[in-house]
């Protein structure tokens, strides 16, 4: 329906921009991962697989990656556990207050990430709010150390950040379920509990997969929360990358790790997309 000139005018500029600023940088990162760093801290453009073999050989990278995935997995699970019932409540039980409550869930998303992470630091610290409160009501005598500078703090903070992210697609999926299906289920003798498991939950699975993907991928690549609250035991894979681009100056190695992360994320996305299509029925 639209002329070729129009289509060209509309398609080319974004295509060019995206190629220059997205595609080429990713390809560059791929290239960097095959280069190396000389003793005098310059980047040598000779092609080698040394970086990748180092990743496979040296323990710390694997361990950190696994720890990161474990942290991301916990964040994902907690976000779903917190987010799903909330979405279900809003969608099916909130009635007229639904919109207002929805806004209330979204608002924290708009509050600076840094601000929220920092606030948790305030709460969890040795002389932070939680510890002093616990001592004030005589539940504990000494500050609980594990609260801050630990994987616990990272998981807690990231769960706080990503629960709304998990909530959004689940809520959207639940809202899409025609209400007459729920009525039909009741009509045929299923209690609300049975209706949930037999009708509502299966139809909401695409939303759950999307929410889980969001939470997992974004927390896997997070470096701010670990830096602020993780301490030495809470270091994640992105922190290693950051230091390789900073003090530990080894861009090629950092690029190798980043590229692996990129591949991991892209394959997770493909996988979750297929899963969603399989469970989508309308």
């Amino acid at each position: 329906m639209f002329s070729r000139a129009y289509k060209a005018a509309v398609t080319l500029p974004p295509l060019i921009w995206v190629t220059v600023f997205l595609l080429i940088p990713y390809l560059l990162m791929f290239c960097y991962s095959f280069w190396s760093v000389s003793a005098s801290q310059t980047i040598v453009h000779s092609w080698t697989l040394a970086n990748y073999s180092e990743l496979l050989r040296v323990d710390v990278y694997w361990q950190t990656l696994l720890r990161s995935m474990w942290i991301a997995a916990r964040v994902t699970i907690f976000s779903l556990v917190l987010g799903y019932p909330l979405a279900y409540f809003l969608s099916f039980y909130a009635g007229r207050k639904k919109d207002l409550l929805y806004q209330l869930v979204i608002i924290p998303l708009w509050v600076s990430y840094l601000v929220r992470a920092y606030a948790w630091k305030t709460i969890l610290g040795g002389d932070g709010v939680l510890n002093t409160l616990l001592q004030y009501v005589h539940l504990t005598k000494h500050p609980l150390e594990f609260l801050l500078y630990s994987p616990f703090a990272v998981v807690l903070t990231l769960t706080h950040i990503y629960t709304p992210f998990a909530f959004l697609p689940i809520y959207a999926a639940l809202e899409h379920i025609p209400r007459n299906l729920v009525e039909a289920s009741h009509d045929l003798g299923a209690t609300p509990g049975q209706t949930f498991w037999k009708v509502i939950f299966p139809l909401s699975i695409p939303g759950v997969v999307a929410g889980a993907t969001f939470a997992f991928v974004l927390s896997l690549g997070d470096f701010l929360a670990p830096l602020l609250l993780g301490g030495p035991s809470g270091i994640m894979i992105s922190n290693i990358v950051v230091s390789l681009f900073g003090a530990a100056y080894n861009w090629p190695l950092g690029a190798a790790i980043s590229f692996c992360m990129l591949l991991l994320v892209v394959s997770l996305l493909f996988f979750s997309e297929r899963l969603e299509k399989k469970w989508s029925f309308s």
Partner: protein, 357 residues
């Protein structure tokens, strides 16, 4: 309005007593009382906004009445949640579960009730055969047509052997021919299965074709509850007369034993005062030869003729502002000045329906 007599003297299955429903300030149902007999095909007929769907939903359990009670046998039905009522519904847009196959959809109610697998299998097979959908057992709802989905919705409801089946305008999404076919099938299915059906529609022809009785609902109140023949031949109100079929509504005045309506006059035993009559177009004839004894005759000019295939509807201006619509069999060719004739006994006295908000 009280139910005008129960159908064929059968036992009462469902008793709706003084049910009212308000949504905020909006009154949707006012004081509905109605008894449904065992094995009866009852249609709740009404325009959109009349409250018919709301009434059905109250019986199904998806709405709670603001006032009044619903009884089934000796028990209060409206105290139960929908999943404990022995009532099943065929939804307007079928509400088939998209993630389950046709077979699984039909088996749903039985699975939930934890019936043994063998029993489920045989009952589902039987239900699918009854609606002629056995070949599609393993398909998903998205792959079958609207008419087929409708049959599955029916099977899914009936397989549970409810005491009462509710149908919420199930045929409205079908095209005309399929609709007519389904009307016949539904009616014979009901006879075969033998349970009470409550059918909701806005289509008066559909109601006439299928029902043992029709409950005409208008703005939340029952206008008339009667068999199709009664409601057609003896409409209680002007609205009933006009809603079902075509009619001529004659605003008349009775003076000293004679009805006066424009140029029309005939003797009557009614007391003096204003009166409203319903006269069906098929009871008005084009006059031929000598007047039949007691018949009323009037002359007029033909304004419009509409050919309907089997019959023709002719609008005739009779002077004094009176317009009569006449239904004649076949086609009469172009007409100009005519004389019309009808028997006063065909002019049925109707009440004016009270104004509703």
């Amino acid at each position: 309005m009280r139910d005008a007599g129960d159908s064929v003297g059968r036992a009462t299955l469902l008793s709706i007593r003084n049910v009212a429903k308000r949504f905020g300030k909006n009154v949707v149902l006012r004081d509905i009382s109605l008894d449904v007999a065992e094995g009866e095909f009852l249609t709740i007929l009404g325009e959109s906004g009349s409250g018919k769907t709301t009434l059905l939903r109250i019986i199904a359990g998806f709405e709670t009445a603001s006032a009044g009670e619903v009884w089934m046998g000796e028990e209060r039905l409206d105290r139960e949640p929908p999943y404990r009522r022995r009532v099943n519904t065929v939804f307007q847009h079928y509400a088939l579960f998209p993630h389950l196959t046709v077979e699984q959809n039909v088996a749903y109610g039985l699975r939930v009730a934890k019936r043994p697998e063998a029993e489920i299998a045989s009952r589902v097979e039987e239900a699918l055969a009854k609606v002629k959908m056995s070949a599609h057992a393993k398909s998903k709802p998205s792959k079958i047509s609207g008419g087929q989905q409708q049959r599955i919705a029916l099977a899914r409801a009936l397989v549970n052997r409810p005491r009462l089946l509710l149908l919420d305008e199930p045929l409205s999404a079908l095209d005309a021919n399929l609709r007519r076919q389904m009307q016949v099938e539904l009616k014979s299915l009901q006879r075969e299965v033998g349970i009470s059906f409550i059918f909701v529609t806005h289509d008066q022809e559909e109601a006439m074709v299928m029902s043992d009785r029709i409950a005409l609902l208008r703005s939340g109140e029952l206008e008339q509850v009667a068999t199709p023949r009664e409601i057609y031949g003896r409409p209680a109100t002007a609205y009933a007369a006009q809603f079902i079929g075509h009619t001529n509504l004659l605003k008349a005045a009775v003076r000293e034993g004679v009805v006066h309506c424009g140029p029309l006059m005939w003797p009557t035993a009614l007391p003096d005062g204003p009166a409203l009559f319903s006269l069906r177009p098929e009871n008005v004839r084009l006059a031929t030869g000598n007047p039949v004894a007691g018949a009323v005759r009037v002359a007029g000019r033909v304004r419009h003729q509409a050919f309907h295939g089997a019959t023709e509807l002719i609008r005739v201006e009779c002077g004094d502002g009176l317009v009569l619509v006449v239904r004649t069999p076949g086609s009469r060719g172009a007409l100009d000045n005519v004389e019309l004739e009808f028997s006063p006994s065909d002019a049925v006295l109707v009440r004016e329906s009270p104004k509703r908000i």
